[in-house]
Every structure is written in structure tokens, then in C-alpha cells.
Amino acid sequence: MSNGLLQNLESNAIPLLVVALLVWIFLRSRTQALWAEAYRRLRRNKLAMAAVVLLTFAGTVALLDSLSWKSTNSAQSRTVLDQIFGRADERTYSAPMGSQTQELNPRRVASIHLLGTDSVGKDVLYQVLKGFRTAFIIGGFACLIAVPIALFFGMAAGFFGGFLDDVVQFFYTVFGSIPDILLIIALVLMLGKNLLSICFALGFTSWIPLCRLIRGETLKHRDREYVRAAKALGVATPRILAKHILPNLLPAIIISVTLLFSQLVLYESILAYLGVGVGSDTGSWGNMIDAARDELTRDPAVWWPLVSAASALLVLVLSLNILADALRDAIDPRLRTE
């Protein structure tokens, strides 16, 4: 197995790196007083801890679906998740725990499926779990694109003001006034319809509110004492931005990004409905929900793909929302809702 893992190095390296990076950021941030205090408060919040556990579970599933290897040299490479669910498919729909397929001439199922099977007989549980990886990629990569753009322009506009501010404001008003859907469809068409181009399109349309927020916050901090003091001491501008202003923006950014992440996961289902979602070789809750439009009209109704996909989506988005609330309370007591 380890041998196989090495062979697929290029595709396995990225998820492992991402995990390593997250762990590193977590350990590193604990050494800072502000964050250590925040974590302490977070730990006391039971609901938030439940959300963290669920998110860790979702992340693990996503990770398991990202590590793949080939069992023999010529076989198709399969992820851990594929290996676990390497069971026989049915011919078509079968109800959760059902013993028969739902078709004109029902047949006995080859194996029992906890959440039933879909139109081509694939296990719904397996499909739902595969959706976690897609959700994490969409949320994560889109944020990875949106945040640097927003940070760069927002901080530049807020800090320097003047003409630069006008230009940045002009750009985000222009982009903000074009309907998202046109930008997304256009970008997806331009870049091809795959997971990465959808991430890019979503990232490219979601930086605007974030940029506006960062600009405002920077503007607030620019004239604070400590920044003026640093300026007077002759600290270089990039250093002021990075060492003095950025840390003060982080709480607001982290909360917005958590919310943005959950919004993006929700948005994927609308894209699937509009026919610009991810391809059918990628597990996707949006596609499953979209397919339910037809499935619910069957008699008896095929409800389990819809309910399973919607529940998985709910778990992820709800955890993210709860975590965002808890973070807000933990990091910045002034922002507390109560």
C-alpha cells in the first residue's frame, strides 16, 4: 500500500500538504496570546466543539477520498473510500435497507445498502461521502482565490486611500453590479467545466464583499495610535501592513471566510440546478439534489438521494455556521451577539 501511495505522489501530496499546513497553523497560532485565549474560550463552548468534531469527521472523509493508489500496476487508481465501498452495484434504485430494486421487474439486491442506491445502482451513502471532498475543494479553493485578492486590494485601498482607493472601489462596484450568474457561467465556459474552474469562478465572484470589509477595517486601523507610531518610527509600509494591520484584521477575516465557505457549499447546488455544476464523475450533493427533481415524481417517490445529500450538506454548513458564531464570540468579545 505504501508503495502504491508513493506512486500516486503527485495526486496524494496536495491533500496531505493541506492537512500539514492546517496543523502547523493551528500549533503556531496557539503560541500567541490572543489565539490561545480564543481557543480556551472555544473549548468551553460545547456546541462549537460538537461542530469541530463533525468538521473533523467531514475533513477525514474528504481526506480518505483524496488519497488514492493502484492495487496493481495497470488497475485504475482508487481512493481509500473507493476501496472501502468496493461492493457490487445494483441495477438501479433500491430503497434504504431495501431488499429489492425499484424497477419494472424488481430484482433482489446484491447487498444491503444503508441509504439505498441511485438511478444507476450506486450506493447513496458512498455518493454522499464522496460529496465531502467536492464541498471542501469548492469551499477551500474558492476562498484561497478570493481571500488574497480581497486582502491585497482591500488593504491597499484602505491604507493608501486617494486615487488607488477610487480605482479599487470602481473595480469592485463594477464587478459587484454584474450578476454573479453571468460571471460564473462565462468563466466556467471559458475555463472548461471542471471542479477547478468552478472554484476559480466562485472565488472570482466572491471576493467583493470581503474586499469591501477589509477596506473598511483597514481604514479604521490606519489612523490608530499604534500605526501612526510605527510610521513615525520609520517602519517600512509593507511591514506595517503585515505586522501591525493584518493581525488586527484576522478575526474579522476568519469569521467572514468561515461564512463564505458555507455559502459556497450552498451555492454549488444552485450551479448544479443551472447546469453549470461539476461533472458527473465528481461526487456532488448539488447533482444529487438536482436529480431529485425527477426522482420525487416517481411513484413511490425516490426520496433517499435528496434527503441523504441534503442532510450531509446540512451537517457541513451547519457546523461551519456554528463554528463561525463561536469564533466570533471567542475571538472578539466585543462582537458578541450576547
Partner: protein, 313 residues
Amino acid sequence: MTRYFVRRFLYMIPILIGVSLLTFALFFLIFSPETMARRNLSAKNPTPKMIQQWVASHGYDKPTGELFKRHMVSMLTFDFGISDKTKEPIMDRIEAGALPSLELGALSFGFTLLVGLGLAIVVAYLRGTYIDTVTMGMAVLFLSIPIVVYVIGIQFFFGKMLRYGPLAGYESGWASLKFMILPVLVSIASGAGYYVRLYRTFLLDETSQDYVRTARAKGVRENIVLYKHVLKNAMIPVITTTVAAIPSLILGNLVLESFFGIPGLGNYLVNAIHSLDFAVVRVMVYLGAFLYIVGLLITDVLYAALDPRVRLS
């Protein structure tokens, strides 16, 4: 003040030009006029001659610069021309669709706000009780479900199983109200959670202000404090956060309109993108941008009018 508004108004022009430029760039980077012709001609396999004819008669053989100039002139004079695909005057479609869209938008937005505000007041009043906890928990829960699921679920459960109101369709006049039941339910379910959370924060922010403490100290009854003082002041952020969305209601809601068969403008743009009807795309994008900016402008005005602390410069 007047100077400020004139300046803000003039500022719209470069933005609208920027939006149009971007629309042009995006569209013509991706699609050639030939592709547009193929998609718009009814023939299954049009001959090169037919395509050439189509491109010429719709003016897409002109250089993009000239196209753009003509576009800006017709947009600034609100002369929108005809659709590339159906040859209908675009203005006719907009006029016909704006009203149903506005009706659906106003009702669903209005009821969502009303439910959101109502629940926020209840929750602010009952803060700390189990009702507060449960309601706020539900608000987060309801926020975490995609709208497509709401549409499918509500249409299936309330429409098909319980038979409250028509599943889809539209008639003008008072008869239209019964067609709004299900879509309004969908938008309340999917949107109210957000407003409950937002308004609760506003209300509680106000409750902790000094003047409220003073009023309470003076022995003013809690209900009167809540209604007379808190609510009045909390309305400022309520209004300024929602007004910006109002102009865009005219352009309709994509998912609701197509599922519930409401003849609005929600799908006009997306259908036009899919059928590469550029004449419609550019108009709808322009109009969308226009209304969006108007919304921003109104917000600023209201902000200034309602909150004496804000001065415009």
C-alpha cells in the same frame, strides 16, 4: 448635500460603461458571432451562407468598437432593441415581466423581513428563555439548507400533499395572490433565519445603549422601552441593510420563478446566456447594474436622512 448627490450620480456613468465593457469582453472572448448564429438559427445544421447572413443582419460583423459605441448610445437612451433569438422588442418583455417579478419580490422579501423582524422582536423580548435558544438554533439550521431543497420540499409537501394553493402558474390582479403562497413560504423558510439573527443583534445593541438604561431607570415600562425607543432606533440599521436590495427585485428570482411558473424576468438573463442571445444579455446586465447602483445610492441617502450622525461630503 446636492453636490454630493450630483457627484454620486455622475459616478454611475463610468461604472455602467465599465460593466458594459466587461460584458462585451466576456461575451466575445468566449463566443464568436458564428457560434451565436448557430445557436440562434432554427435550422439543425445551418449552412455557412445562412450563418454569414445571420451575422450580417444582426450587425455582429462590425468591429467590436463600433458595436460597443452603438450599444452605449442605445443603453443611455434606454432604447433596447429586439432580441436576437425571438425578435421580440426587449422593452416589451421587460415591461411584461417586471410586474410579476416585482410582486413576487416584494411579497417574498416583505414577508421574509416581517417574519424576521417579528421573530427578532419576540426573541429579543424573550431573551434568555428556551424560546430564544430554540428560535436562534432553528435560524442557523434553516440557513444551512440550499434553496433548491426548499423549493422541491415545499412544493412537494405543502403543494402536493397538503394542497395549499396552486403548485404553479400566474394570473394578473388579485387572483395572483394565491399563486404567491408557496413561493413566499419558500423565501421565508430560506431567508428569515438570516434576518432574525441580524435584527436580534441590532435590537440587543440598542438595548444596551445608555438611553435605554436611563429610560428603565426612570421607570418606563419595559414594553414601552422596547417599542418606543429600541425599535425606533434599531430601524435605522434595519432599513439601511435592506433597502439596497429593493431595486433588484424587479429583475426577479431565478429559481422561484422557474419552479412556480411566474412570468417574471428571473430567467430571462440565464435563458439568454444559454441561447447566446447577446442582445438580451447586454440589456439585462446593464439594467441589473443600473438597479444595483441605484440601490446603493438610495441606501446612502436614507442613511443620511435617518441617522443625524452621518454627514455626507
